[in-house]
């Protein structure tokens, strides 16, 4: 028979007085540096209400009883030389130089066994809606991703995708936000050229513009017209690309920019609510379209327990938002579909003694395993060096993941912390903190309003500064950075033996080669059809009830450039203002 709460509290008090205090005095410290949790930490804990079973509402214990990758994990290991086994089905995020450079890279990794669709990183020029010949983009062409100026470049990216890997047989990923509508139009045109039915095209565009204003910074238009473009892509995807995901909502970027855990969770949820509301206002069925929302990932940190609790709280919150606020009934619409769960976050890696980042990433992988994700040791250790991930670092990262799965058996239990007094209490705490912050944003009028008044971006920057202050004051410790950084510590390095996937020389000449192609395009195309198509786009953009997608498809076919299309929309919608301190 369970003992009474009073009895427990008396016992705890006795323990504090007789065991804890004498020890604290003995070591002459102000308080015990460790905490202990009891049933009293989770008062009135209702297991079914708070946790439930994995794969059932409120999904605290996981989206599924087991994840798809786990079903065949042992079989995959027995196959031995399994190429990229253990990576997600979406290909590795990549893209650099010109479309030709990127195409050659894709052919190279296909020759090494890659079976996945393109997971495209676009250069900043494309992400910000400029062309490679724009005067303000010198030095940026093809730099952090592939340069796409027109349908010609987009077509080139898909050249390696034929036969078993045809455009309608692989899933494509596009890290694109403000000009997402333009890229989707290009996808529709290339699919049509290839004779592929649009309803068979699978993929995920990032299409999460709100977090760009808060953290990532590739917004083009002001927040409200940006949401109108989101609506247009959402409606277009549901009617033309039914097998595509609509977006990939990211808390990751928000945390990387400095947000606290609670801010990351609250801002992501507030952004998600705004996207859901757009769909509802457009007359779409939430059970249908929300099931096509995905999440990129939330942020991470080295605080392993907190990150596990965070993921549990996030799943529960999103499920409740869908069910209680949007009256969804489809369980698939209530889950956070994300390729990555807990992780340490790239900002936890250090430039100082970078091989230590392997140890850090394993901590993140363990947290992932304990909150329902694949225990990916992410990121590779050379992340902060700014040179791209080397093959050596990727090998270490993938092997660490395999060791956690196959040797440590970390993925053999769903939600191993379920029912732990400590973890349930921490999960409740994070949820309550985020809920309070969401309330503040709701009072301002929701996510869009909290961007317009700069509340969200400024809060993130303040938190980033607070973290820096804590590190400098030695309140937070970072090994090799603000502690244990003496001269006798060894700085290890790794012998590099593998070839690079891509040729760094290409990067140097990409801009020049891209400019030649762009000039050629402008010479060859019919200026009349371009201006006709752009004129039609302007009319559609000006009508708030119209959908810009059909007009954009015509622009793409006329070989209008990314910037030409975006400039028309800049003219109609205006441009986003830079956010000052």
């Amino acid at each position: 028979m369970a003992r009474s709460t009073d009895e427990l509290r008396r016992a705890e008090q006795r323990w504090r007085d007789e065991v804890v205090e004498p020890r604290v005095e003995r070591f002459k410290i102000p308080a015990s540096p460790v905490r202990f949790y009891t049933p009293d930490s989770v008062e009135d804990f209702d297991f079914l209400e708070k946790v439930g079973f994995p794969g059932q509402y409120p999904f605290t214990a996981g989206n599924h009883p087991f994840e798809a990758w786990r079903a065949h994990a042992e079989a995959g290991a027995r196959l031995g030389a399994g190429g990229e086994y253990g990576m997600s089905s979406s290909g590795r995020y990549s893209g650099y130089g010109t479309a030709e450079d990127y195409r050659d890279y894709l052919l190279k990794i296909q020759a090494l066994g890659s079976r996945s669709g393109p997971n495209v990183a676009f250069d900043l020029v494309t992400q910000c809606g400029y062309d490679s010949d724009s005067p303000n983009v010198v030095g940026e062409v093809g730099r952090v991703g592939v340069a796409v100026d027109s349908i010609r470049d987009f077509r080139t990216i898909y050249e390696p995708f034929t036969g078993d890997l045809a455009i309608d047989k692989v899933a494509s990923n596009f890290t694109i936000n403000a000009p997402c509508c333009v890229i989707l139009a290009m996808l529709a045109v290339v699919a049509e050229e290839r004779g592929a039915a649009l309803d068979r095209i699978r993929g995920t565009p990032q299409n999460d513009i709100l977090k760009e204003f808060i953290a990532r910074g590739t917004q083009i238009f002001p927040p409200r017209p940006s949401m109108r473009l989101f609506r247009d892509t959402l409606v277009f995807c549901r009617s033309h690309f039914p097998a595509m995901n609509v977006n990939s909502i990211g808390g990751y970027h928000i945390r990387e920019a400095g947000a606290t855990r609670a801010q990351d969770l609250a801002f992501s949820m507030a952004n998600g609510i705004a996207y859901l509301q757009e769909g509802v206002d457009a007359g779409l069925d939430v059970d249908d379209f929300a099931a096509r929302f995905t999440f990129n990932s939330f942020g991470g940190s080295m605080q392993v327990y907190h990150e596990i609790a965070f993921q549990r709280a996030a799943r529960r919150m999103w499920a409740r938002i869908l069910k209680e606020r949007f009256s969804a009934t489809n369980p698939r619409a209530m889950i956070i579909r994300q390729p990555i769960t807990a992780h340490i976050g790239c900002t936890s890696t250090t430039l100082q003694r970078p091989l230590n980042n392997v140890a850090r990433s394993v901590v993140g992988g363990m947290a992932a395993a304990m909150c329902g994700g694949m225990p990916s040791a992410y990121p590779p250790f050379d992340e902060p060096l700014g040179l791209g991930h080397s093959r050596e670092s990727l090998q270490l990262s993938i092997d660490a993941t395999r060791i956690m799965i196959y040797e440590a058996g970390m993925s053999d239990v769903a939600d191993p912390w379920a029912g732990s007094y400590f973890m349930e209490s921490l999960t409740d705490e994070i949820e309550a903190e985020a809920q309070e912050e969401i309330g503040r944003i709701e009072d301002m009028g929701g996510a869009v309003a909290a961007i317009e008044n700069a509340y969200m971006p400024r809060s993130v920057a303040r938190s980033a500064y607070e973290r820096q202050r804590r590190i400098e004051q030695l309140e937070d410790f970072v090994v090799g950075v603000n502690c244990f950084n003496g001269e006798r510590e060894l700085d290890l390095s790794l012998e590099r033996t593998a070839d690079e996937f891509y040729d760094p020389e290409h990067l140097r000449t990409a801009e020049e080669r891209q400019l030649v192609k762009l000039a050629e395009l402008k010479r060859e195309r019919s200026e009349r059809s371009v201006s006709g198509a752009l004129g039609a786009l302007e009319i559609q953009a000006k009508d708030p009830d119209a959908n810009v997608m059909p007009a954009l498809i015509e622009c793409v076919k006329s070989e209008a450039t990314v910037q030409e299309m975006c400039d028309v929309m800049r003219g109609v919608f205006g441009e986003a203002e830079p956010i000052k301190l």
Binding site: L124, R216, A257, A461, E472, V481, K580
Partner: protein, 133 residues
């Protein structure tokens, strides 16, 4: 620092890179350290940065770049300052700068390069010793 006048620093984000965590943290930190800080916001052209540096009569310019475009962007800011006779304003670069580019940046005329893990006090001391020198 001279008691009668606060040193003015322009913290700028040139180019298209949207990663402004470092820039904002430095801006707040220098402000708390007693500097007068002007932060440009994202996506400023080298022309805008040079113009603002001169118009605001700043004692130092800090450029934050994480997109790999640091060589060309920094070079243009330095050229523009030089053309307008403002080469005495020290230019600092922060962000994601691979080791092999540090030296090249200094050869271009950059006063100092500061990457992840640098305490703000170090940047503050550097500016104080270089400004108006």
């Amino acid at each position: 620092m001279t008691p009668d006048r606060k040193l003015r620093v322009l913290v700028a984000k040139p180019g298209l890179d949207g990663h402004d965590r470092g820039a904002r943290v430095i801006a707040y930190g220098l402000r708390d350290a007693g500097f007068e800080v002007i932060y440009t916001g994202l996506r400023q052209s080298p022309e805008q940065i040079a113009r603002e540096a001169i118009q605001e009569d700043v004692d130092a310019v800090g450029l934050s770049i994480l997109s790999g475009a640091h060589m060309s962007l920094t070079g243009r800011v330095l050229d523009l300052l030089r053309e307008q006779g403002a080469e005495d304003i020290p230019v600092l670069v922060g962000g994601l700068i691979p080791d092999q580019d540090r030296e090249a940046l200094c050869e271009l005329g950059v006063a100092g390069v500061f990457t992840a893990g640098t305490p703000i006090s170090e940047v503050a001391d550097f500016i104080q010793s270089h400004a108006g020198a």
